[in-house]
Amino acid sequence: MAARIQVPAAAKRGEVIEVRILIQHPMETGYRVDHVGKPVPKNAIRTLTCRYNGVEVFRAAMSPGIAANPYLQFYTVAEASGELEFFWTDDAGTQESARQPIVVSG
């Protein structure tokens, strides 16, 4: 599923940057039924990690208590140019990833 990531395109070394990620995912609670009354199985993104040039800088363990299409905003220190990589896994076992480049000056 699609994800939208927003980080500043350019930052100074040592600057604290804001990272925002929005993932398209239903975060099914497992308490809903479909139009024929069949329960919709629980399916939520359980883990999301963010790596900055291969080093893990953020990790989130989530549950259906996080709204559908989970949005997360967190911070990280701009260390070097490179990319931020995101990895997430849901209850259905789907593993996905997304990446966003960043340019660090100074």
Partner: protein, 150 residues
Amino acid sequence: MKHPGRRRFLAGAGGALALAALPESVFAQAAIDPVVQSVVRGAPVKRGRVKLDLPELADNGNSVPVKIAVESPMTAADHVRAIYLLSERNPERNMATFQLGPRSGRAEIVTRVRLAGSQRVIALAELSDGSYWMDAAEIIVTLSACIDES
């Protein structure tokens, strides 16, 4: 706290003087509920340093914006290790756990949660020295996120 009833009675009987004499930590202990206990397992939890921003009223519990900010220099020696977002009434009490570190720079998270009814939401921060800090906020949810077949 083993005998909350007795302690409350004693505090009442002793009057304001006895109440004032109680150390601050006693009040902090009293604030601990089972939801928090499931995470801290007996460790003391202090109030403060954590700021939980939540609307007072939500028309719809399906998507409620939440902001958690923890006062911390976020250095290698002194940083926030994890932030727990706990719910009193959701089927899954631990809505989310965020792991941070010195590379975070700032201990602040913004997200959107799903709430099954009016309740108290708790943000709990675990610091690198092993101490726990919390903040709680009451929210009224007009239409709760469906946990039954509605």
